[in-house]
Symmetry: C2
């Protein structure tokens, strides 16, 4: 990257979610020049999806210097295989089986297309434009509806043999523990530390403590946000919900640190809005479970990318990572 | 490595243990040309240790073409810092504090010296001369008195930010579980899957099952080997000791797979002599805890290096890995 003049060059970043898709044009400094969204789930076939995204992007590209300025396309998508450029058996997308998405995009745009899952893309985004600039070894954890992970070793994203490395949300933190609502695995990090997991913990704990403010909400209104509001008002049960969540997160982080010895853990996503309610116990239990040689060294760092733009930025970073 | 003619070139491999040190001369095909051992713990100061190892190695080097043929020195040692070439606070060595071991060796031999811990060195040894030849992504687990780990991603050993990555034996498999006799951590893989851990499990289980053959041994004679002998004779308790050990190992392996998506897990060390008693439950519990996208893909592969020579070979591989 250092040897190439990238001024004026554009990366297309696309983040495919089950419901919505975000897209944008990003320069190598991480500035979003133009962006938009579209529905994912209205497209039964992938070709129609690609036609629509092209229709949205073409005028934006023309306004920003034309297709000759486009360096490439980066896509974050569930179950994306980096090596093959495919989306494989994504449970939350209409397109079943193995979809040769990168080839189709590349054909349509006349540009190379690189794919990975959204948490891996987020890790690249933090390294190129965010809080991990200059770091060569770190672990990214995205804490939202689900829990995702991305691992950077020696300045490169770890894809592994099959291109699916970094599924840190599905590592087991409590063998034989809480059954995951979708994967069926028992005791995964995601089952505890996702927004979904926090709601489950809150519903269990409020049943045990009838005096908790959490009992003033209907079942449907118990979520990470309402638990946070109760915690802010000093509700001991709500505070315990986050403490327990932080403990499980911290235990998982200790294992990640002993695996890859990162300089920092980058945290991103809606769940971290709970701040010290979750971060303090996470730090405590991470340190407690580390070998002495790793202790008091690894920083917990909050993402510097805006939640609205992080997905587009992360996907676009895939383009520059190949330079 | 491919572009350099290494025929006739020699790597010095040194493996430092708390009691004994092994050393040898190895060519780039992994053939040991000469080897020997010496006591580690008789040397109160590291300079005396280095004098003795030089005295042993010098005649062997002269017999094999002389010092000009030596490409470099590779050292496997406890708490070795790859980046700094230091041994840091090793609990089982006489040399306290931070020892600039690589500089001292390099000065004495007039050759570059590279260091890492023994399990990391073992991973390099398997990749260069053993069962992992041609693999670019794998995880090495050494199962002996302790449990060590080494992670290869994209054909390179993962050292991490501090040079201490791959401490897989100290990852937690059972939060709040068995207290480690040395580190004090609770529920680490090493507490269960090392030979030491197996003996602890066996002593607990035989107390619960008075009819077990394990009760015919004195407390001091309960070890991985005697448990294996009882298992071979069909003792249900001894078999259960290995099944439980394999379960804990398998749960840990699932987490490692979801972290780095390896092609294979390489297993080495005395404990794997228990064979299917431990490997079958390990495989079963690994698969059970994996996300579907990883299932039935990752091979468990036994080391192809002889136990007597693996430490020297692994250390020598550090020299070629730098080419």
């Amino acid at each position: 990257m250092a040897l190439t003049d990238l001024s004026g060059r554009i990366a297309i970043g696309v983040d495919i979610g089950g419901t919505n898709t975000k897209f944008g044009l990003v320069n190598h400094r991480g500035e979003i020049l133009a962006k938009g969204t579209m529905k994912t789930d209205v497209h039964e076939d992938v070709e129609g999806f690609i036609e629509e995204i092209y229709k949205h992007l073409e005028p934006l590209i023309i306004q920003n210097g034309g297709m000759t300025m486009v360096e490439g396309v980066g896509v974050g998508a569930p179950n994306a295989n980096y090596y093959k450029g495919t989306i494989e058996q994504a449970p939350n997308l209409n397109w079943k089986g193995i979809v040769p998405f990168a080839d189709l995009m590349s054909h349509k745009f006349g540009k190379a297309c690189t794919m990975t899952n959204d948490a891996n893309a987020a890790a690249l985004g933090e390294m190129m434009y965010g809080a991990a600039r200059g770091m060569r070894d770190f672990v990214m954890i995205t804490l939202g509806t689900g829990v995702g992970g991305g691992v950077i070793c020696g300045g490169k994203l770890v894809y592994g043999h099959d291109g699916f490395a970094g599924e840190l949300g599905h590592t087991i933190v409590k063998p034989g523990g809480r059954r995951h609502w979708s994967t069926g695995s028992e005791g995964s990090l995601e089952a505890y530390a996702s927004a979904t997991g926090i709601a489950i913990t809150a519903k269990k704990m409020r049943a045990e403590y009838p005096a908790s403010m959490l009992n003033e909400y209907s079942e449907d209104d118990i979520n990470a946000k309402t638990v946070y509001e109760c915690a802010l008002q000093g509700d001991a049960t709500a505070i315990e919900v986050f403490r327990y969540t932080g403990q499980k997160l911290g235990e998982a982080l200790a294992n990640f640190v002993m695996f890859s010895s990162p300089e920092a853990i980058l945290l991103f996503g809606g769940v971290i809005k709970a701040g010290d309610f979750i971060l303090k116990p996470a730090k405590l239990h991470m340190e407690q479970n580390l070998l002495p040689v790793f202790r008091n060294k690894v920083k917990l760092v909050l993402s510097e990318l805006s939640e609205a733009d992080a997905a587009i930025l992360g996907a676009s970073a895939l383009v520059w990572a190949n330079k």
